[in-house]
């Protein structure tokens, strides 16, 4: 069914279709619409889940861990300060290999306090052991939420997944969305069968202390699961395409007009829509522009980016975050895998500043004229 709905609504409906049994929540702008929608789906009897109205995001993620340990599918959502408050427990969720799925409506981090969009919040958590997707449209937000469970729960992965949605710019935008049928989702995403769980018939200990002789081994296993998830993400993306006739690049990276491009933007999230429009316009003027859209920030799709970037003469990385004292996070990672290339870092769109057509044009100009520069578009 195709409907004009808000992205937050699309995420909530996607979560509903995946039949989570427990939804711990705590409100924060611009995420709140997602859990409000879920609350009304539960209140109206459309979703048979237990919502836990926690007293903080730290507790929300802790409750998510408890529920997941007990063996049920869990969904939650947060943003900004809330995600930062979860920081400690994010590592525990991934370290204990619980396939929790969480939407993040990206917002800046204080100070100064600011409720608007950038990606500093989830970027700050990129090494927390969560798979991280950054989506461009309401449809993609919906589809990625569904795919997230299938990826997270894969026995070769067992990692939590964060779906990052630009706050307001995407979370509060209405777009036409194809809403899948419940039956089709049930076919695509089988009933959750946890491996180990808290069970009085088969008691196991979860969350022990690991000494130096074993600790690194656990971390390595997590890193290997991240590595394995690359192929699994691609497979799930293809399976999704088979079932619903839609997919997003190879599931990790989505390129736009890259085959013959000379200059490209590398970006994540909703600004990529604007970039597509600029590329279309400039192509008509003879410019060989293209885009590498990073859908998956973790695991970082190195090979996929290296191969897409091969023919490029210049790159502008759009960073909606700033690693203070080191440059944008995406830039640092792109430069690390493309050391010989002309990679420029564009810091923009912080704290809700729109990323305009002009900004994107300027970024392409920088890619053409500059050499590995850092520029702030204020």
């Amino acid at each position: 069914m195709r409907k004009l709905i808000e992205t937050s609504d699309a995420v909530a409906q996607a979560a509903m279709l995946c039949r989570p049994l427990v939804i711990p929540m705590y409100p924060i702008t611009p995420q709140t619409h997602i859990v409000e929608k879920l609350a009304s789906l539960i209140s109206d009897g459309n979703l048979d889940a237990e919502m836990i109205h926690t007293e903080s995001e730290h507790s929300a993620m802790s409750a998510a861990i408890g529920a997941s340990a007990a063996g049920v599918r869990v969904f939650t959502a947060t943003a900004s300060q809330g995600l930062a408050l979860m920081h400690e427990v994010l590592f525990i969720a991934s370290g204990m290999r619980f396939p929790i799925v969480m939407a993040v409506a990206n917002r800046s981090l204080s100070a100064p306090i600011n409720i608007w969009n950038d990606q500093q919040d989830s970027i700050a958590e990129r090494d927390s052991g969560w798979i991280q997707f950054y989506v461009e449209t309401a449809q993609e937000a919906m589809d990625t939420t569904i795919m997230a469970y299938k990826i997270a729960e894969n026995k070769d992965v067992l990692l939590p997944v964060m779906i990052c949605i630009d706050g307001f710019t995407l979370s509060h935008v209405f777009e036409p969305v194809d809403i899948p049928e419940q039956k089709a989702i049930d076919r695509f995403l089988p009933k959750y069968e946890p491996g180990d769980k808290l069970d009085v018939k088969n008691p196991k200990s979860f969350g022990p202390i690991a000494f130096p002789d074993t600790f690194a081994g656990f971390r390595k296993m997590q890193d290997e699961a991240m590595g394995r998830s690359i192929d699994i993400i691609k497979n799930v993306n293809s399976e999704f395409k088979k079932a619903f006739s839609r997919s997003y690049g190879d599931g990790l990276v989505e390129n736009y007009m890259i085959e013959d491009a000379e200059y490209a933007i590398v970006a994540m999230g909703s600004a990529c829509g604007t970039a597509r429009a600029v590329i279309d316009e400039m192509r008509k003027k003879g410019k060989k522009y293209g885009m590498i859209r990073i859908k998956c920030m973790r695991p970082f799709p190195r090979e996929e980016i290296i191969s897409a970037a091969k023919p490029l003469k210049g790159i502008a990385v759009l960073d909606r975050n700033i690693g203070l004292g080191a440059g944008g996070a995406l830039f640092t990672e792109i430069k690390a895998i493309l050391p010989e290339k002309n990679v420029n870092d564009i810091i923009l769109g912080l704290g809700g500043k729109d990323i305009t057509i002009e900004d994107i044009k300027k970024s392409f100009e920088i890619a053409e004229k500059e050499n590995s520069s850092t520029q702030w578009l204020l």
Partner: protein, 299 residues
Amino acid sequence: MIMGLPEEEYFASGHRACAGCGAAIILRHALKAAGPNTIVVSATGCMEVVSSPYPETAWKLPWLHVAFENAAAAASGIDAALKKMGKRDSVNILVIGGDGGTFDIGLQALSGAAERGNKLTYLCYDNEAYMNTGIQRSGATPKYASTTTTPYGLKIHGKTQFPKNMPFIMASHGCYVATANISEFMDFQAKMKKSFSKPGVSYIQILSPCPPGWKSQTDQAVKISQLAFSSRVTPLYEIEDGRIKISKEPVKPVPVSEYLKTQQRFSQMSAEERAEIQKFVDSEWGKISGLAKSGLKIF
């Protein structure tokens, strides 16, 4: 069954608690009272660390440790999941936290769970400091006690504040609340068992002697607990349906100094300071016993 308790041990020996650790005794009895259909959640702290050195575990019940301040929140998640799986009535949830993880850093999560009415028993073993990290003061540390962050010095004499009244804080949430003592273990058992039949959060607090932290003898945990009871430092009571009920009174109350002298953490206290503690204990007892006598619904 011996005295209504399973012979089965659910907290296995071989754990790494110090010799004479009161908390190890507490866990052994708490788990027996809880029985095999129980999921345990531990906060970070001594009992979590000594019981789970990977790949070993002392837990013969399903057990989850997440972090220091969030045991009650993690347990809320289990409560919700059990409910949705239709298993809520057949399984107990027992949360175990130290005083630091309960009075201080975990208070918010515990308050949240209590307000929401998540069904679980929260057992606080109160060794009156952060022992796992090396005997730092907590909100439960008694006044004048010497800890590594409140050393009894020439200028400042140990901790400068009285501890907070955690049972009353939990009673204010409408919870079933009980204090317990390892020298009165049948009473402890009965309160534990009762807690599992209560709706929402139940809160049980039990004094937990700690030889390295209290600088006490390793064969004295039960004796010291007994003195805490008979000196009224830790009165035994229940708060049920908002009313306080004294569970047991010492037949022959002893002065607080009898209790204090079993522990070197109090050894530098002056006579005036001891008198001040006696006064505090008397006034607390007066409050509790007075409220109990009144029969009023206070909470």
